[in-house]
């Protein structure tokens, strides 16, 4: 038995997810928006781990493992895009990126 109620874990995960959403929607720096996406993915992982703990399912851990792998891939490609956009425009603010061409 665990002393932590499931509702508390899920509420914490929801709070972290919403914080990440606030970051994606309100910050205008691409780097910080990417970090906010990582926060959202982590909140989902926390939900999966909480449910796994409650039902003693290892499947949730495996799914969280896959999410970590996908997050790594996303970060690598996203940061490569930020780098190549920065070479083109000398900016990391998405307000300056209205055109796809130079």
């Amino acid at each position: 038995m665990t002393a932590i109620p499931l509702g508390h874990i899920l509420t914490l995960a929801a709070l972290l997810f919403s914080l990440g959403l606030v970051g994606v929607l309100t910050r205008r720096n691409v780097l910080i928006m990417l970090m906010s996406v990582e926060v959202m993915l982590n909140a989902v992982n926390l939900t999966l781990v909480g449910f796994s703990r409650y039902n003693a399912w290892t499947e949730g851990h495996v799914l969280a493992f896959f999410i970590i792998a996908v997050a790594a891939a996303e970060a690598a490609v996203g940061l490569a895009l930020v780098l190549s956009v920065f070479r083109l425009k000398q900016t990391t603010y998405i307000d300056d990126l209205r055109l796809l061409k130079r």
Partner: protein, 205 residues
């Protein structure tokens, strides 16, 4: 109050506070500060995973998230070499207020769902399941039930690595003219009119 619950609250408060500090335009304005605050938040989350007996995930959180992904972030931030005037003052706009409102709405909806789903939840006694969440347990499942997705994830990581290298290359094949590096640009700054590149750069300065 049981010790387990106290530790949960302490770790949860740490994770939420460091994430909020990262997102606030005052403390997290500089991307490198935001990245460091996010690393702190990931360590708190690793503690939470360990508390929920996800031992492998807690270690992976530190090795992969705090160790690999965030190091990549800090490397890119340092590589960009942002000048102090590139970091802008935060300004409150209509779009930001709408964005915060949308996030608040989503949070309310999530809380609604949680209240209904978790009231009757009772945890399974883990003393019956020895080694739950350990490397052996998760690894066994990874190499039996989830064999095909596991291999697909390795292909995904390979594609992402190749894609990142191709995207971050200095001269992409489809760019007809080489983009002047900041050093060359400095040298040729006196010359007027060398095409579109000079115009778009000039608009920025």
């Amino acid at each position: 109050m049981p010790t387990e619950l106290l530790i949960f609250y302490a770790l949860g408060a740490g994770a939420v506070l460091s994430t909020a500090a990262m997102l606030l335009p005052t403390t997290g304005r500089n991307p490198i500060h935001a990245a460091l605050l996010l690393i702190v938040s990931f360590f708190f989350l690793a503690g939470l995973y360990a508390l929920l007996s996800a031992h492998l995930l807690a270690i992976l959180q530190i090795i992969v998230y705090a160790g690999a992904i965030m190091v990549l972030f800090t490397f890119v931030i340092m590589l960009l070499n942002l000048s102090p005037d590139e970091i802008r003052e935060p300004k409150i706009s209509y779009a930001k207020m709408v964005g915060s409102g949308v996030a608040l709405f989503v949070f309310g909806k999530l809380l609604n769902g949680i209240g209904a789903a978790s009231s009757a939840a009772k945890a399974v006694d883990l003393t019956q399941q020895e080694g739950f969440g350990t490397v052996k347990d998760v690894g066994h499942m990874l190499y039996s039930t989830f064999m095909v997705p596991f291999e697909l994830v390795s292909v995904l990581l390979l594609v992402a690595a190749v894609g990142a290298v191709v995207l971050a290359k200095k001269n992409l094949a489809y760019v007809d003219r080489p983009v002047p590096s900041p050093a060359e640009e400095f040298k040729t700054e006196g010359h007027a009119g060398h095409g579109d590149a000079a115009e778009s750069d000039g608009a920025h300065h």
